[in-house]
Amino acid sequence: MINFGYTAHKERLIDYDKNDKRVLEHLKKHEPSVLTCIACGSCTATCSAGQFVDFNIRLVQTLLRRGEIEPLKQEIRKCMLCGKCILVCPRGVNMRNLILAIQTAIDKLK
């Protein structure tokens, strides 16, 4: 078959109605501090991993809130669990436990 160079683009739209909120429900129980995030970006600015790789820990809570499970899976793998973000968070979100609890919830989905 002739390759015309066309590809199907991945959908960029977040379809909130269809997305999976089970991971979020798990987090509401196991790390409810995530609900108080104000997306200030302090965590991302201080993140050890984020200095070297394309990792935005601030985005983790947003993806979680939107039920964007696939990108969430990719994102949390990049965290080194150093905990510097916890020190700077103005709302006291326990990011390290957040990452671990997300992993637990994702494992449960299988």
């Binding site: 960029r12 977040i14 109605d17 609900l35 108080t36 601030r58 985005l59 939107r66």
Partner: protein, 341 residues
């Protein structure tokens, strides 16, 4: 008929100023164009930040006022004529009142949400305003969709008619952010199983207890705040509303269905106030609110001696700020009157 001060508008500012002027021994006539005094406060269920019933505050203001000043309802000025150091207020009924000072306490109108056609107010039954929701809450009946069902997802759109060049209003209306948070909490209280979203550009929690309310909304009530301005809404066959917004925190477009959409409408100047301002020759800003001599120290003075301003006719204010503003206006008027004697 001679009066010392004529107050135009019997809302929070007018009532407060009338009480204070009576305290200071001045003779006041309070004009209210509606059938009773109280202004917009008559329509509010509970007030931020402590959710005290609006009726309680209104009762307090009325009680302080007592029967110390003459109140005329269903009455507003047609013409106001300036004399040497006094004014003649000509009522719509034709009666003429001579006074030494006029206080503009004319208040505000709510932004007409139909002007933001893309949100569908007045077109889709399940798009309502914050004032409509307040009425619903005040009635004590359950919060429902137009079909009478409990909504499972409710959205609040912040900054409707404010911070919007398209609406001709560049200013921030100040109170809608906290009203949105208050009403979101109230939805969760009525319908604990519902999912509630606030769509915001910035959340301006500027006053005491506001930020704590926002924190409580997130932590205790699990209310979601999604940063982005709703760009358009459409109605589904079942009359639920699909909205489009950029989730600016992920930089991606987002689509969501809600059963009820609440538009947080802001303040606009009343056309009637603009008319009177032009009549009196007092200046109005680009935002159409009345200009004062100085924003810091002479905020109740217009450029015209004897004409004062208090409350939301000079810009968006909370009820608490309006009361403080009107009290100050009364004192300034009292001092002005002393210079005439």
């Amino acid at each position: 008929m001679a009066k010392t001060v004529v107050i135009v508008g019997g809302g929070v500012a007018g009532m407060t100023a009338a009480s204070r002027l009576a305290d200071l021994g001045e003779k006041v006539l309070l004009l209210e164009r509606e059938e009773e005094i109280g202004g917009h406060l008559r329509n509010w269920d509970r007030l931020f930040p402590n959710r005290r019933p609006g009726s309680e505050v209104l009762h307090d203001l009325k009680e302080t006022l007592g029967n110390r000043v003459e109140i005329r309802c269903n009455e507003s000025p047609g013409e106001i004529h300036s004399l040497q150091s006094s004014f003649i207020v000509e009522l719509e009924s034709g009666e003429k009142i001579t006074c030494d000072a006029v206080l503009m306490a004319t208040g505000f109108d709510l932004f007409d949400a139909r002007r933001k056609e893309e949100y569908g107010y007045g077109i889709y039954d399940n798009v309502i305003t914050s004032a409509d929701l307040e009425r619903m809450l005040r009635s004590g009946s359950p919060v429902t969709t137009s079909a009478g069902k409990a909504p499972s997802r409710v959205g609040f759109v912040h900054c409707v008619g404010s911070r919007d060049e398209k609406a001709g209003n560049l200013y921030c209306s100040k109170v809608c952010c906290v009203t949105g948070v208050k009403q979101a909490i109230e939805i969760k209280e009525h319908l604990p199983g519902s999912e509630v979203f606030g769509f915001y550009m910035d959340l301006r929690m500027y006053d005491r207890h506001f930020e704590e309310m926002y924190y409580e909304a997130q932590q205790k009530w699990e209310i979601n705040f999604l940063r982005g301005r709703v760009s358009e809404c459409a109605e589904n066959e079942d009359q639920s509303i699909v909205l489009k917004i950029e989730d600016t925190l992920t930089s991606r477009p987002l689509k969501m269905t809600v059963d009820l959409l609440v538009l947080l409408v802001g303040f606009v100047q009343k056309p009637e106030t603009v008319r009177i301002a032009k009549l009196l020759g007092i200046s109005i800003g680009e935002d159409r609110f009345l200009e004062c001599l100085d924003e810091h120290t002479r905020f109740n003075y217009t450029g015209k001696p004897g004409i004062f301003v208090a409350g939301t006719s000079r810009g968006p204010l909370t009820i608490a700020n309006t009361i403080a503003d009107a009290g100050e206006a009364a004192l300034q008027i009292h001092n002005y009157l002393k210079t005439l004697k």
